[in-house]
Amino acid sequence: MDWFFDYVSVGTFWTILLLGHALLSVALLGAITHQAAAVLVGGRPKPEEEGFVRRFSAVRGSAYPTVVCVLWIVTFVVGGWIYTKYRIYVRVPIEEAGYWKTLGTFDLKEHLTAIGLALLPIYWSLWQESQTALPTSIENARKGVTLCLAGFCWYAFLVGHILNNTRGFGV
């Protein structure tokens, strides 16, 4: 890896990684939000139905699970890598500044992303059902786990954004 740092400074490397993490999370957020909207609103819009919400949710939910799983895992791994630097260069100064609630909300983000990771196998499996008329229990479980992941993802995204604002970029 030493050859790499002949061309890119250490600071630039971590900045690239952080931005990559941010872009991955945006992609994940978009995918899971579309899917969550689809399971909430349900179905494709009829020709006479207009409006942003109907059109936003007019996606085939079954097209998303593999992408969501891959994005969740890759974002998790990259985030976990950045987390090593966060512990020293971000968390310590924020502790010294006394922003305890900010740190608490970030720790909760860690918990939710880890629990979300554990939900991915069943989430993926439930979305592999190709039947059009699923049993209610499967349908509800699929809806529940999708909305759960979407909620976790939104929380993680917003908290990551807040924390970045708290510490300041490139400080």
Binding site: Y83, T84, R91, W124, L147
Partner: protein, 122 residues
């Protein structure tokens, strides 16, 4: 109510069965690992050192990181519990509601928030 092996016309695979049990057990196990502080290993980022189990570094070593260890403990533990669940009779498995896959993580939320009470200073 459909369970780990739902009898509803669908043919659940062994993967589905594993994933269902894992989704129910892992959030609980993770919460326990966090509250009891049971990391499988401890990472000390300042020195890039990894120690098995719970390790309290010396002050000059910098802060420890337990989160990776909690994730590892809870995921390995949940997989092991899933194997233990295989020993249960099929009728017992059928009685476990599938809705628990999303109710359990949500139920763990207030407990995890409580576990972080150190940070909620007003």
């Amino acid at each position: 109510m459909s369970g780990l092996r739902p009898n509803d016309g669908l043919q659940p695979s062994s993967f589905r069965s594993f994933a269902t049990a894992f989704a129910i057990v892992a959030p609980v196990f993770y919460t326990v690992c966090e509250m009891r502080n049971w990391p499988l290993f401890t990472f000390v980022p300042a020195t890039d050192a990894v120690y098995f189990g719970l390790y309290a570094p010396a002050p000059d070593q910098g802060p420890p990181m337990y989160w990776y260890g909690w994730v590892a403990t809870s995921f390995l533990g949940s997989a092991a519990i899933r194997l233990a669940v295989l020993l249960l009779p099929g009728s017992a498995l059928k009685r476990i509601p599938l809705a628990l896959i999303w109710i359990t993580p949500l139920a763990m939320l207030p407990i995890l928030i409580y576990a972080l009470r150190f940070f909620w200073r007003w």
